[in-house]
């Protein structure tokens, strides 16, 4: 449903709900939230025309802090719910938020298909390489040897590389940001929102409470923005930079064009709601 309203200019505060974030002081997620507010203000999105969908985890509480429509679903199922919202309502802007556990452990089976479908979604992963809401267990992006309550002898699994996954699964926009740089992160999210197709934005969003290995300080030492002459149109190049062993690059790794799911599906529509009785009548006849 849309209602004609005079064009209104939204301020940053218009995107903030009256619910105060429940995150720990110093949590990286505050930076992501601020970047989301900024990106939406830059495009002057009407809050009632945006839907923020999330799964479960500290980061997935984010829809409560945004004044748009939202859906806080169950663990791992943010992308299916967002898929339903978006395919049903392509007129709305749908954002998806997950943590690294929600996206790459319990929800990995859905994320790869959402990317493969090239749904026009902006997917922001607040990646802290730890399970925070359950108070500090190893996550799929935790490094090998990482000590937590569930891996007292060190994590025996190697970390999943989110960007390599996205590049190879068909995401058409792949980027990484850092919550310590909210202005640049806002630009990345903005670019993702503008991109037609699946935008995958992995964000280093450190957990100061439970992850003492991947911290703001260690990330600051390790990250570097992709060079200014970087070519984001080449998937092989993107994969090489995503899997670089000496740097954790930030920026837009890959940007490519492909038909979106909704475009293709809507192209296949041969009728409208008004045809329902006629279509049914035809089906009845076929079986008589």
């Amino acid at each position: 449903m849309t209602v004609d309203l005079p064009v209104r200019h939204y301020e940053l505060d218009d995107y903030k709900s009256d619910e105060k974030p429940t995150w720990c002081p110093g949590c990286g997620d505050f930076g992501v939230l601020n970047a989301v507010y900024r990106a939406m203000r830059t495009r002057n999105f009407a809050p009632h025309e945006v839907v923020a969908v999330s799964g479960i985890g500290c980061s997935s509480r984010i829809p409560y802090f945004i004044s748009t429509y939202g859906f806080h679903s169950v663990h791992g199922r943010a992308t299916p719910v967002a898929t339903g919202v978006h395919v049903a309502r392509p007129d709305l802007k749908t954002l998806v938020f997950s943590g690294d556990g929600d996206a790459f452990a319990i929800g990995a089976g859905h994320v790869v298909h959402a990317m493969r479908r090239n749904l026009d979604l902006t997917y922001v992963i607040m990646d802290n390489a730890i399970y925070g809401l359950t108070k500090g267990q190893t996550s799929p992006t935790s490094g090998i040897g990482f000590h937590t309550a569930t891996t007292p002898s060190g994590n025996p699994e190697q970390a999943l590389n989110p960007l390599a996954l996205a590049i190879t699964c068909g995401a058409t926009f792949v980027a990484r940001g850092f919550s310590a740089e909210p202005a640049k992160l806002a630009d990345l999210i903005l670019e993702g929102l503008d991109h037609k197709g699946f935008s995958f934005i992995d964000v280093y969003s450190p957990c100061p409470t439970f992850n003492k290995v991947n911290t703001f300080k260690t990330y600051k030492d390790e990250v570097d923005w992709l060079p200014s002459d970087y070519d984001a149109s080449n998937a092989a190049n993107a994969l090489a930079h995503a899997t670089s062993e000496d740097k954790r690059y930030l920026g837009v790794f890959l940007r490519r064009e492909a038909p979106t799911y909704a475009e293709q599906v809507h192209k296949a529509h041969t009728g409208t709601e008004a045809d329902r009785a006629k279509v049914l009548g035809g089906m009845f006849k076929r079986y008589s």
Binding site: F71, R77, A82, G84
Partner: protein
């Protein structure tokens, strides 16, 4: 005991046998062969032709799970009267191969007709049935030089045997194969003619008379559809405009039909990566304002359980079809069982009220799917519509639904007050997604509505959609979710009732077993034993008011196709009294003849309360020939 369909005149004949002279009111035909031999398509043509000629038809299709290989059969029952089951045992059995003969012959009615391909089948113990050799292979391969049309030759033979109007079959063959060109149509015409001619040349007119069923006058506006097709049609009629699903036997047809139909009404179907995703997408689409549905079978429902809880908690309207099959685990994907009731009614952690409906017939599949959408919309809650293998796979001739008479419900939506609407703050106009109301139903804002912004959620929440884990909130919100069910039960569709309402014996059942009970009651009435039936179509919340009269009877019998008596448990929880439970769990439907015996035992005082376990087949279960028994002899052969 074997129950054959009743005859109008059968003086002096022994009960259960096919007498020499009679006018039949019904006939059961079973065509058995190797799966993949394509026995289903000719069967479908035959029933469509029969329906156009004025017969009531009801079928059963029993494929093995394998794509090719293993014995499958297609059973057709023709009658001039309304049918409720596929018929316990065939009057005519057509076997394509020896294995089909071995595993099916036991069920042929004594004195029935075995039609067999002499090149493939060597009949044994032929004293109890009549024989007709029908060299299908030879006609197709040698005379027509088209082995593939063997089934159409058989179809012609059957049509001649039952004196169906072959003109209708020619029309149907043309409709079916027109797209493949005239050569294909002509080849099939020749095959049909060859089959008709063979039977006319080799079967005496006296024998033809034995299998003659009188149709009633052909009626307009009837159609032959399977339960799954009826469900898909019901979804379109109910306003479905979004579907997400994952292929699973025996529910896939619903998805396939909607894949073709939805784009024609501007709707969308997504083939999801699994059933969890399917229901997640359905919830998302419904949140976006669509009428959304998924269809699956037991294994899919098992996967959806957590997401079903989300639908209840977030108060999201959605329809979930469970075409039950025999479990547990992968179980027997093509076999019948009413085993998912606990799962559908109670499945999930915490207390998750939801509406559960169950189809007793193909016609129910259409109307209850419409009802499922209406109730989902009205009560903003998930509605599970249960069919079962019997009802979803079988085809029936049913009256064409009158679309103009259907009532369609839409959810109560929130519209912004003229000015100053905002989702936030405590002002008058502030939107409360989960507002407390007398019915428990709160107006819902559809995304895109200014001022209606809210977060749909699985966390416990207050009226404004904020997570508040305090005792008052959880108490009041739990009551709100259950209050909707108290109102929904008053919207329960009318139950199936049958028989003598003054009888001492009440049959209380659900799903396709209701049809078995109807036929059992009719047969018992002819013996002078009265019973009545009530089969509610809403299973949860249980419409107690519909059951009060039956549960006050001297004897209450609860038949169902499962081990534990899941429905009986529910009914007894609501009406604490003794009942006679009747269960069968062989992956086949309950047989009318066995239910007749069991009810008679209760009526005549030979069976009290407790539990009766029925034989899933006619004859000795331990002596039943199964495909395993045939491996050695066939290899030797």
């Amino acid at each position: 005991m074997v129950v054959a369909d009743p005859k109008v005149t059968a003086p002096g004949s022994r009960h259960g046998e096919v007498p020499e002279h009679e006018i039949r009111t019904a006939l059961v035909i079973r065509v058995a062969g190797e799966a993949g031999e394509g026995i289903k398509k000719p069967g479908e043509l035959l029933i469509q032709a029969a329906a156009r000629a004025g017969f009531e038809v009801l079928t059963d299709f029993a494929p093995p799970s394998e794509i090719k290989g293993g014995v499958s059969f297609f059973q057709i029952r023709l009658s001039s009267r309304r049918l409720h089951t596929r018929g316990d045992s065939p009057d005519v059995l057509l076997c394509f191969n020896q294995e089909a003969f071995e595993v099916n012959i036991q069920e042929l009615v004594p004195g029935g007709l075995l039609i067999y391909d002499p090149e493939k089948v060597t009949p044994r113990d032929t004293s109890s049935y009549r024989l007709l050799a029908f060299p299908l292979e030879q006609i197709a391969s040698k005379e027509l030089r088209m082995p593939i049309v063997k089934n159409v030759v058989a179809l012609g033979g059957m049509a001649a045997l039952f004196q169906l109007d072959s003109a209708v079959l020619y029309d149907l063959i043309r409709e079916l194969w027109e797209r493949k060109g005239d050569a294909v149509v002509q080849t099939n015409f020749k095959a049909l003619e060859a089959g008709i001619k063979y039977v006319q040349d080799h079967v005496s007119s006296a024998d033809l008379e034995r299998f003659h069923v009188l149709p009633h006058a052909p009626e307009k506006n009837r159609m032959v559809v399977s339960g799954n097709t009826a469900t898909a049609l019901g979804a379109v009629a109910g306003g479905c405009n979004f579907f997400a699903g994952y292929p699973i036997t025996p529910a896939t047809d619903v998805m396939e039909i909607l894949a073709g139909a939805l784009p024609k009404v501007g709707g969308t179907l997504v083939q999801a990566e699994d059933e969890i995703a399917a229901l997640g997408m359905v919830i998302g689409a419904s949140y976006g304002g669509k009428k959304a549905m998924t269809s699956t079978s037991g294994p899919g429902i098992s996967l959806m359980v957590e997401t079903l809880g989300l639908a209840t908690m977030s108060e999201t309207a959605c329809v979930i079809v469970d075409a039950q099959r025999a479990g547990p685990s992968t179980g027997m994907p093509t076999r019948h069982e009413q085993g998912d009731l606990y799962l559908c009614v109670h499945g999930g952690h915490g207390e998750v009220p939801r509406i559960v409906l169950a189809a007793t017939s193909v016609e129910d599949c259409f109307y209850l799917t419409v009802t499922a959408f209406n109730l989902a919309e009205k009560y903003q809650t998930p509605v599970i519509f249960m069919s079962d293998t019997v009802v979803c796979v079988r085809s029936e001739s049913i009256p064409m639904p009158d679309l103009a008479s259907l009532q369609i419900e839409n959810r109560l939506t929130w519209t912004p007050p003229a000015e100053g609407a905002t989702a936030f703050g405590e002002n008058e106009g502030a939107y409360k997604r989960y507002a407390m109301t007398e019915t428990g139903i709160s107006p819902v804002a559809i995304p895109g509505t200014p001022g209606g912004q809210y977060v749909g959620m699985g966390l416990e929440h207050n009226e404004r959609g904020r997570h508040r884990p305090d005792p008052r909130t959880h108490t009041q919100m739990t009551e709100k979710r259950f209050r909707k069910m108290e109102h929904a039960v008053t919207d329960a569709p009318e139950p199936v009732t049958h028989g003598d309402p003054d009888a001492d014996i009440a049959i209380v059942t659900w799903g396709s077993t209701a049809g078995v009970a109807i036929e059992a009651i009719d047969l018992l009435a002819a013996e002078g034993i009265s019973a009545c039936l009530v089969a509610p179509k809403m299973i949860s919340p249980l419409p107690r008011h519909q059951l009060v009269a039956a549960m006050g009877k001297k004897h209450v019998i609860i038949p169902e196709v499962n081990f534990r008596g899941q429905f009986a448990d529910m009914v007894q929880a609501s009406f604490p009294r003794e009942v006679t439970r009747i269960n069968v769990y062989g992956g086949r439907p309950m047989l009318v003849c066995h239910l007749v015996d069991a009810i008679r035992d209760v009526a005549q005082g030979r069976q009290g309360t407790g539990r009766v376990v029925l034989n899933p087949i006619i004859g000795d279960l331990d002596k039943l020939v199964t495909p395993d028994d045939l491996i050695a002899p066939l290899e030797r052969h």
